[in-house]
Amino acid sequence: MFKTILHHHALSGGDCAKLCCTKIEDFSVHIGRMDIFSHVHMHIHCGQLTALIGPNGAGKSTLLKAILGEVPHTGVLHYVDAKGKHTGHPRIGYVPQYLQFDVSAPTSVMDIFMACLSKRPVWFCRGKKLRPRVLASLARVKADHLIDRRLGALSGGELQRVLLALSLDPLPDLLLLDEPVSGVDKNGLELFYEIVADLRAREDMAIILISHDLDLVAKHADQVVLLDHGVICSGTPEEVFHDPRTHAVFGMLAGTPEGGDTL
């Protein structure tokens, strides 16, 4: 009943020695009589940015929630860290797609950091000790100027970066990003991708990103997985974007990611 994200009893992955990696094996989710997706296999190495693409309703967000352990599913998650030790389950960071957030809520960026990092209740927390740590976290996503702003007063892109900073403290092994379909302007989106790509290299972290912007995927991702109720095809951006099955799913428009088309 009180299940948490810790429910994955991750087993060791045999062929992944010396590289930290996450393997998703045979994930399926059914809600009622509906198959959201079935038999999903994915293999993600650390220091890799895997982009998850697919049409609306393909089950992308549900897959992330299944990895988080929030949605009941079949299949197993294997995780092995860099030293070949089996750490049980990866520490997962998650940036949700959109916040159904009341813009009038009097919660500042600092407040939400304190709520996540401190045991003392926020209304009793002086916050002076945590402030340098929070500023450093925010600086990593170029958002340190937002520390005293109200969450509701942030733009979509700013909120996304603040949430990214939150999910990076403590540093996760696996980072799940659910990019919003709308609400983030083009500049904000590019900044977000640059930060994520930079993170992957610096922190040696495995990242799965749901994306709707094929240009940016082509530019930044190491691996692309096309999902439509199951993995249709996967590989490097080159391979996936030139695969006829991708064209079939997205129609002809998406065939040339260089063409400046956005889905």
């Binding site: 988080l68 939400i112 709520a115």
Partner: protein
Amino acid sequence: MIETIYHVLDLLFPFAWMDHIFMKNAFLAVLLVTPLFGLLSTMVVSNRMAFFSDSLGHGSFTGIAIGVLLGAGSPLASLVVFSVLFSFLITWIKNRSSASTDTIIGVFSSTAIALGLMLMSYGGGFNKFSTYLIGDLLSITPEDLLALLFVFFAVLFVWALIFNRLLVLSINPSFARSRGISTLLVESVFAALLAVVVSISIQWVGLLIINSLLVLPAAAARNVTNDVKHYHLLSIGTALLSGITGLVLAYYCNMAAGATIVVIAAAIFFLTLLFKPYFVK
């Protein structure tokens, strides 16, 4: 003990309204209860649970009726137990079902109120329940005050334990779960806390207006604050201020104390609404 407190009150407030013992008791009760409402209302409003807390008031209808039918003296014990179970049930079903929250709460709330009315009208003795509708703040006894003191510290303690998790939860449940927060547990504890505070104060504040005390203080505070600390302070301040002025005003004008308190809280809300553009960043 209580005599000493009465004496101190006489020294601090040398006014006519403080001459009566029942006013002293009511005053002490206001000091204990309104801060709790102020505290809890911050997250009732932030988690959009105004409708839920309203249904707790309705649910207590059934709790009182069962208590009276069982004849266990004061229906308070039955009321607290029933309200807590009722709140757990709604929280649990809300988490399991895909139907929208307000539908589920609406179903439970109307069922509880109908069941309560049915049981109360059993045998034709409905009138003895009317005090629960309006509430009587002046009927508080020193024993009630002692119980209130205990509840006051218990709620404060639990609040300190769950607040951070509740705040993260109010932002996004999936995000909260990704940080290892057991959302159902946190929500259930909060719901139980609300149920306890609502059911013990319903006999003094009254079923019809109890929910306004869980909504107005925070609604007023959030108009003019930008962070959690000030939000809390102002919400408690609003509840306390309207509690005390409402009590005194009700004494001089001979009106129902609970209702007067709510009207003053509402006045503070509209005042803060006017000043909103000057405060909110």
